[in-house]
């Protein structure tokens, strides 16, 4: 094995890219769970976003429109989940699973004619001045715009939950929906909004895979990224900044194992490919997470 082939600067730079799809999906799910809803369909929404984004981007030639389409696709699928769990009061665990199974089928169907096509290029930004700083420049300031969109989302969600009135309402709904209802807040409306936001974010994360990271469409290409995003939300104890740490930790492991594969590690490829999943399990075990939102996963029905 030739470890000198691994360039630490490139490694750290690609870490940010590898973490972005999971970060995007996880920040959406974090808001959903803070509102007291457990949507296990992240994988399904991600893969739907991946295919919607790819189809729109290829047909329009614009990656930006692709991301928009991906957000719409993810939100659309999330809306099914919202309707089922909020109005028809279905079990959230089962509905989330259904969403994933449905999303995998839907994406395979939509993406049929798009296998083997390359996505339109999505160039990196070379931020002037900041991007020219040696070492730090290439690591942090020379990425494509979506990497920064992910960071802005984390900061935005943190500010929204901590400082805004609506964020307070959302947290109240997630902690105790009976009390929030008694105070006159519309529990279902708040939750639906959160679910749609979560779906849009998962869609963006999926599209980042199909438009930037791979950049192609293949069936089942998310390969568990949505589930890892769910795990990272637990790891982060439902706090935005810890989410960033979790996503980068995971991105680091992914990139490192890919680099080790390329460097010709003695360990077979299959075992290296297992590491992100094993690391996720290890992280779930070691990090005894904080308290989950009080009403997480419970059905709300305003009885008269």
């Amino acid at each position: 094995m030739d470890l000198s082939a691994i360039n630490p600067v490139l490694l750290l730079a690609s870490l940010m890219v590898a973490a972005t799809p999971i970060l995007l999906a996880a920040i959406g799910e974090l808001v959903v769970e803070r509102a007291g809803v457990l949507n296990l369909g992240v994988e399904g929404m991600m893969i739907t976003g991946a295919v919607c984004g790819f189809v729109v981007a290829v047909n329009s030639g614009s990656p930006w429109l692709g991301f928009l389409g991906a957000a719409a696709g993810g939100a659309g699928l999330a809306l099914i989940f919202g309707g089922l769990t909020q109005f028809l009061l279905s079990n959230q665990v089962a509905t989330g699973l259904a969403l994933t199974l449905f999303g995998l089928g839907l994406s395979a169907l939509v993406g049929q004619g798009y296998i083997g096509i390359k996505a339109p290029a999505f160039p990196d930004w070379h931020i002037p001045l900041l991007g020219d700083i040696p070492i730090i420049g290439p690591i942090i300031f020379q990425h494509d715009p979506m990497v920064y969109v992910g960071l802005i989302f984390v900061a935005g969600v943190w500010a929204f939950l901590t400082y805004s009135r609506l964020g307070l309402v959302l947290r109240a709904v997630g902690e105790n929906h009976e009390a929030a209802h008694a105070l006159g807040y519309d529990v279902i409306k708040v939750r639906l909004a959160a679910i749609i936001f979560g779906g849009a974010c998962a869609g963006l994360g999926g599209a980042y895979l199909s438009l930037v990271r791979v950049p192609q469409w293949t069936e089942g290409m998310t390969a568990g990224a949505g589930w890892i995003a769910l795990a990272i939300v637990v790891f982060a104890s439902w706090r935005p900044w810890r989410l960033l740490l979790g996503a980068y930790l995971f991105g680091g492991i992914t990139v490192l194992q890919l680099n080790l594969q390329a460097a010709g590690s003695a360990l077979p490829v299959e075992y290296l490919s297992m590491t992100p999943y094993l690391a996720t399990i290890a992280v779930l075990v070691i990090m005894r997470s904080g308290r989950a939102p009080g009403a997480l996963g419970q059905i709300f029905h305003a009885s008269r």
Binding site: L89, S90, A98, F102, G105, L106, A108, L109, T280, V285
Partner: protein, 359 residues
């Protein structure tokens, strides 16, 4: 204005009617989907749901019903116990793969010896493989409070990588001219799970029926079934009744893992024949739909497994005869679960029309 009113007790009538209603709604929506894909909806629905049973080639498809249905029923029976108790083992696909690997490894180790003890040993190894794989999320949940949904699911991806490594490495057929995949177990008499291939009968089918009977007795007549149902409906009451929650988690996870492992072994030693990179085709996930469609009841699961097997076979016919993409069938299966969850509201709630009284 439409309002929902909680029923004091779940409606018995709707309990039986909702799965049928969900299937009908899926057929309607599936028909619309097929029409949107430019296929004749009536012909497609008929091909999927009726042709496997009644067409002129049905003699060929009917055995397939047993072959496809058996693993689904076997896995779903195991899952139903956990789902009833609120223990979510989502990683049956991984346990299925590991069971198949362990069982096949035992069989391949004895190749080419002929002995009647080989197959029972493989069955044991398959069950243990699935059991151990399911114990990982089970023990982590009990010892560390780790979420069993996420851990069991992560282990599916690990198992898939393990399968790839086995098919390309340790279990590869030494006479396979370098192609990936193991020796064909179905052609190795001592290790084959076939009883009569012409009617689709293999030991997995037998086991599925036995599992249904045992599950029925356990749920309705045995204290274990009572504990499972109690834990699902009221965890607090269960604790007072002397149910040990940790033990219940381990038993439910272990049981579903062992059954999934068995299903994997029977599949790999019969219909699939060999350990290959993609011998698993998602039975572990479809079994989740089967468990819910069967209302987590053994007899229901048996019927639901048959219906799901029908859509698999019908889907293949529709693919070859009508050019229907296989993904459309997968989507329809997901749709079925959606509709089932949606109409389930009728079981627990009464729909009231008209002006409700103010709160």
């Amino acid at each position: 204005m439409i309002a929902l009113e909680k029923r004091p007790q779940p409606s018995r009538g709707w309990t039986y009617a909702t799965p049928i209603l969900a299937v009908i709604l899926t057929m309607i929506c599936g028909g619309l989907l097929f029409a949107a894909l430019g296929k004749n909806p009536f012909e497609t629905i008929r091909t999927i749901f009726l042709d496997p049973l009644f067409s002129e080639f049905a003699f060929y498809y009917r055995p397939q019903l047993l072959i496809k249905g058996a693993p689904l029923v076997l896995i779903a029976i195991g899952l139903s116990f956990g789902f009833r108790a609120g223990i979510w083992n989502i990683g049956a696909e991984g346990q299925y793969i590991v069971g198949a690997i362990c069982g096949a490894a035992v069989g391949l180790a004895f190749y080419p010896t002929e002995s009647i003890f080989i197959f029972p040993l493989m069955v044991l190894a398959g069950a243990i493989g699935g059991f151990v794989w399911a114990m990982i999320p089970g023990v982590l949940r009990v010892k560390f409070g780790t979420n069993e949904i996420l851990v069991s699911l992560m282990l599916v991806y690990v198992a898939e990588q393990l399968l790839a490594s086995m098919a390309l490495g340790a279990l590869r057929n030494p006479e396979g001219m370098g192609f990936p995949g193991s020796r064909n177990l179905a052609q190795y008499d001592a290790a084959s799970s076939w009883i009569d291939q012409s009617i689709g009968m293999h030991w997995g089918v037998v086991s599925a029926f036995i599992a249904v009977i045992f599950a029925y007795v356990a749920l309705s007549r045995h204290i274990f079934g009572f504990h499972v149902r109690l834990a699902g409906q009221s965890p607090r009451a269960a604790r007072f009744a002397g149910v040990n929650p940790g033990a219940l988690i381990l038993i439910c996870m272990g049981l579903s893992g062992a059954l999934a492992g068995l299903a994997g072994l029977f599949e790999v030693a019969g219909p699939a024949g060999q350990i290959s990179i993609d011998f698993n085709i998602g039975y572990g996930f479809t079994a989740i739909i089967v468990a819910f469609l069967g209302r987590l009841h053994p007899i229901g699961i048996l019927l639901a497994g048959g219906l799901m097997a029908l859509t698999y076979i019908g889907g293949e016919i529709a693919q070859s005869n009508l050019g229907l993409p296989l993904a459309a069938i997968q989507m329809m299966q997901g749709m079925l679960l959606f509709f089932l969850l949606a109409v389930d509201v009728l079981t627990n709630y009464r729909v009231r029309f008209g002006q409700g009284k103010p709160a």
